[in-house]
């Protein structure tokens, strides 16, 4: 997926999510995108530049909880 304009910590987290077999989708507007698990759960991260580290931490937490559901990329 495209990662243009995203904070590097968010880009790293997205890359790890994709490696874990989760799907990353970008949006336009207030929400930069979401990470989706095959189990149906998703996490949306908003394009707030104030706290990108917290956003990345949330993605890592989502990966930890859903890694076992991820399909092989």
């Amino acid at each position: 997926m495209a990662g243009h304009g995203l904070h590097k910590e968010i880009r790293k987290a997205i890359a790890e999510a994709e490696q874990a077999g989760l799907r990353a989708v970008t949006f336009t507007g207030h929400t930069w995108g979401q990470v989706e698990c095959p189990c149906g759960q998703h996490i949306k991260i908003y394009s707030t530049g104030r706290n990108p580290e917290f956003g990345a931490k949330l993605i890592y937490g989502f990966i930890r909880r859903h890694r076992e559901h991820g399909s092989t990329p």
Binding site: H30, K44, F62
Partner: protein, 171 residues
């Protein structure tokens, strides 16, 4: 100070509702769904309770109920083994009193799956096995307690009932 926490909601906010929250100055960093529906927040406030109250008021104003504060406090014996790097069997024996000084915290749940409070278990470990006890910060304890309070608030919708029960906190 910036307080980071996650609220459990009864449903996912819509895009329009998220815009309304942002307009009110409450900008969630992330939202998770559909079940559980979670709002991940970072709020600048004087205290954790003040930050949670701000978020609860703004979100419930939209007609979304807050049912809890997400916490990693509820743990199984397997979780405790992983967090303390002990074997499952060693932790199980501590829990049933076959090993160690006894007095292991009682599980919060009954039935087939026993779940424990990590805040309680880690405090017990810190007393008896300081080398293996993983640190639980006061922030973790406050989050775990806030979760119980928000759940109680959700169970008791009438303000009078809530006020009555609130006396238990300072009894």
């Amino acid at each position: 100070m910036m307080y980071e926490f996650t609220l459990v909601l009864d449903r996912e906010p819509t895009g329009a509702e998220l815009e309304a929250l942002a307009a009110a100055g409450l900008d969630p960093v992330g939202a998770e769904g559909p079940r559980p529906a979670l709002a991940h927040l970072a709020i600048d406030a004087d205290s954790l309770p003040a930050a949670i109250i701000t978020a609860v008021r703004e979100i419930e104003w939209l007609g979304i109920a807050i049912t809890g504060v997400a916490s990693a406090d509820l743990v199984s014996l397997k979780d405790i083994a992983a967090r303390t790097r002990r074997s499952y069997e060693s932790v199980r024996k501590l829990a049933v009193g076959q090993r160690g000084p006894g007095g292991f915290p009682a599980p919060l749940s009954t039935g087939q799956w026993a779940l424990y409070s990590w805040a309680e278990v880690s405090a017990w470990l810190a007393r008896h096995y300081p080398a293996t006890a993983a640190a639980v910060t006061s922030y973790d304890r406050e989050i775990a307690a806030a979760d119980h309070l928000i759940r109680a608030r959700h169970i008791l919708p009438a303000p009078a009932d809530r006020a009555d029960l609130a006396q238990l906190l300072t009894a």
